[in-house]
Symmetry: C2
Subunit: 299 residues, 2 copies
């Protein structure tokens, strides 16, 4: 994969590092957040230490890693490190058609909301789920997402947690998220106040959409999170791992970032990369590279 | 792949054939067309013979196979067999940014139009092309498609050939078609009369779209071709080959077929499957299976 997609990190023999890694405290880094799945082999402690070392002021946490480290311990750790939690990944998977499955999903999402509240996360990212096994009822699955949210949103509001609906690339419609476009996510979110239910703009998922710029503008104050990573061509055999380092794929980030800014979003820009090569690389090198690429490709 | 996706053809030990293959002349087959890529290992002569044997009244031809058999010979062969040519695949790849590439594309598309005219094809399917190598200028590529069509449409009109713009699944936006939704295709086609420029509705490419039913209705008389195949989950390692036999994937065909009918489309329903297992199977078995699946899943 490396040969086709470029190196996962900038190394002397690979892509030249056209900028030095900005030092901690550099004003260009004030909106940067490390989604911890980018440094997937690290636990919470290493990821927090990595952010502190490079001056990345925020982190996007994942429930699995938080559970491993302990919820209260994680909350303490990030607070002591002076980090903000840009998001908690993730709630969702709301499409179960059977009452037991729906009830389990509701229960799990309530726990996720509680965790997001404890961590002071900027939002809980919601990946709404795909078609239940054997089902072809896409409209039904979409209706169930809305119905479960009706139950979940009041709980989240009471907990002070903002839900962030994430449209996923249509290639994941069947198995991960029946929410497939930003416009559809805004339509759904619009049933509730913007401060209760927002949307996630993730460049990988929306870059292809002919309506993306107008829908970003329409989303406005509903933009709860902005995630960046590149779209690799060709996609690797596992399409979940086609998320590349910014600059290694086909996405032109600046127009999207400018549109999100123009829509009024002032939150963090979270780098979330699912990529076997990136995961195999040294975490510190990955952070150094993503900081440089953030400066050269996104800012 | 077979184990996860079901058999490529109906065999005694596999999925039960719940209906017998309707015999030639069965009124249920009057709108069926075999896209010859479904029986990819066959040349034009074998595919035409296969259609005749099973009473499939139309065929979607591919330029490569037509060239191998000879253009005039193919036109004679299909006419003598009493087959209609539902479509010719394919023109397009209009996004080259350099003048030489753009000029080659224009020339090649004029040849494709001439071939479609000779074959009496119902339309020339246009796969518009992705980003040029190294480019991230998606808006520019989309603009160039429109610009080249401005030159090409008059030529097609004079030749009596209808161009059919095919939106491809967004996963192919970078490398095959910057036309990603049916709505976008209708917007583009609307610059010309419906009889000059239509659109292709291909279930694989549009099933996920939250707007698909309203856009099919809006397309109305612009629907120039309706292609069916299923969307397999998980996708195989080569995502181009994720097109399965109807019934083996996640698409609910009837609502889409009913919407296309309600929009006024009375043309052929072309079965176009790109799938390694289908290609490895005996062509006659493939046709028998697709006829049964057409009856049980689509009609």
């Amino acid at each position: 994969m490396s040969a086709r997609h470029g190196p996962a990190v900038d190394v002397p023999s690979g892509r030249p590092a056209t900028v030095r890694t900005p030092p901690p405290g550099d004003p260009r880094l004030t909106r940067l957040s490390l989604n911890q799945w980018t440094t997937r082999r690290w636990g919470v402690a290493e990821a927090v230490a990595g952010c502190a070392r490079f001056g990345v002021p925020a982190i996007g946490l994942w429930r699995e890693q938080v559970a491993e480290h302990g919820l209260a311990a994680t909350a303490r750790l990030v607070r002591d490190a002076g980090l903000q939690v840009s998001s908690l990944c993730r709630g969702g998977f709301l499409t179960a058609a059977d009452p037991a499955g729906a009830s389990r999903a509701l229960e799990d999402n309530r726990r996720a909301i509680d965790e997001a509240a404890t961590l002071g996360a900027g939002c809980l990212v919601m990946v709404v789920g795909g078609l239940p096994a054997g089902s072809r009822d896409l409209a039904g699955a979409r209706d169930r997402v809305a119905a479960v949210l009706e139950e979940l949103v009041p709980y989240a509001v009471r907990a002070g947690v903002r839900l962030a609906l994430e449209p996923l690339h249509p290639m994941y419609c069947a198995d991960r998220a029946v929410l497939s476009t930003l416009g559809q996510a805004v339509d759904l979110a619009a049933r509730w106040p913007a401060e209760a239910v927002g949307v996630v703009v993730d460049t990988f998922h929306v870059w292809w959409d002919p309506e993306v710029l107008s829908q970003v503008a329409r989303a406005g104050p509903r933009i709860a999170a902005f995630q960046v990573c590149d779209y690799l061509v060709p996609l690797p055999a596992d399409p979940l791992l086609g998320r590349g380092m910014m600059g290694d794929g086909v996405i032109d980030f600046r127009p999207l970032r400018a549109a999100v800014d123009a829509a009024g979003y002032t939150g963090f820009v979270e780098v979330e990369i699912f990529n076997a090569d990136v995961w195999d690389a040294d975490g510190h090198e990955v952070i150094a590279t993503l900081i440089r690429r953030y400066v050269t490709e996104v800012l």
